[in-house]
């Protein structure tokens, strides 16, 4: 992955507009926060291979970036995105990493399902 280029990402979002796409959306603190100095409970959520269709999709912010996808009956939202990649399988991967390189948030779109 490399640092987000908003224009490139916007073009990728536009390319997947108004068609069925598979969504991977995730946020994570990591599993071991209760053992670390912060002693907080882990908070983790992910959705993998939900089928969505959006009629408007924008990337905003100065970095870290936000992405919002307006569905016909709802929204997909992510904040804190820093890096992106389009894979060989034409999957659009957006991720937010902390200063140590840990993943904190991910929003991914693909016309074909992600590996189960």
């Amino acid at each position: 992955m490399r640092p987000i280029e908003p224009k490139e990402v916007q073009a990728e979002l536009d390319a997947r507009l108004r068609r069925d796409v598979y969504l991977h959306l995730e946020t994570t603190t990591g599993s071991y926060t209760a053992l670390g100095p912060e002693k907080t409970q882990p908070v983790i959520a992910y959705v993998r291979n939900a089928l969505v269709r959006y009629e408007r999709g924008r990337i905003t912010g100065e970095g870290p970036y936000r992405v919002g996808l307006k569905l016909s009956g709802g929204w997909v939202y992510a904040q804190g995105l820093t890096d992106f990649e389009v894979t060989e399988r034409a999957e659009l991967l957006l991720a937010g990493h902390d200063h140590e390189g840990n993943l904190r948030v991910a929003l991914q779109l693909s016309v074909r399902p992600f590996r189960e």
């Binding site: 994570t28 890096d83 990649e85 991967l93 140590e100 390189g101 840990n102 993943l103 992600f114």
Partner: protein, 236 residues
Amino acid sequence: MQRLDPALEQHLMVVMPHPDDESFSSGGTMALASDAGVPVTYLCGTYGDMGRRMGSPFFANRESMRDVRERELAEACRVLGARYELLGMRDRTVEFEDPHAVAARVREAIERLRPSTVITFYPGHAVHPDHDAMGLATKLAVDGLEGQHPQLLGVAVGDREQLRKLLGPPHVAVDIRRMRQRKLDALMAHRSQTEMMFQRWQKAGEDDEQTRYFREVLMVVERFYRLNGVSVPADG
């Protein structure tokens, strides 16, 4: 506490959910066994494909992670002289599978490989839900065996004082000082997951609590609870 000599085993099997669990918890024990000619098998539940550590600086992403971690696992197992099998579940989902169905797959491997000792996580005392679920499935698998049962050992994770209060002292200890370098090499093979940890420890120096734990405990002795005949939370 009883000393365990891994060299006296017929076949040592480790059953845990993630690539790297084996090295952290039992890497020294595995190397001691394999160096003595004892077959060692790691049955790994998931690909660890939902880890948040991507390397430091990061080189993996959510979609490449599965292949990255399998390659790392293969290298760590080569270092430890073990072979591995993957059950292919998705990371973080083990506790949502039917425990008896997971247990059936573990039991199939145990019946095929006939290990003298099986190491897993102590169900209910292993912090990560996948650890607890894999420990429970392994306990169910061993309890359901016909005929001779292998020794079943559990790794407890978390605050040591707290664990001692709840469970008493571990029953079995393996002195792994001879295998310090091998365990280190195996952990380093899991680069995407451990690189950041090693960097942090280098920076923190001797005074850091985690660094001390690493040097004085993790690389010195591996401790286990005997789980045969113990009833565990959510059993059955």
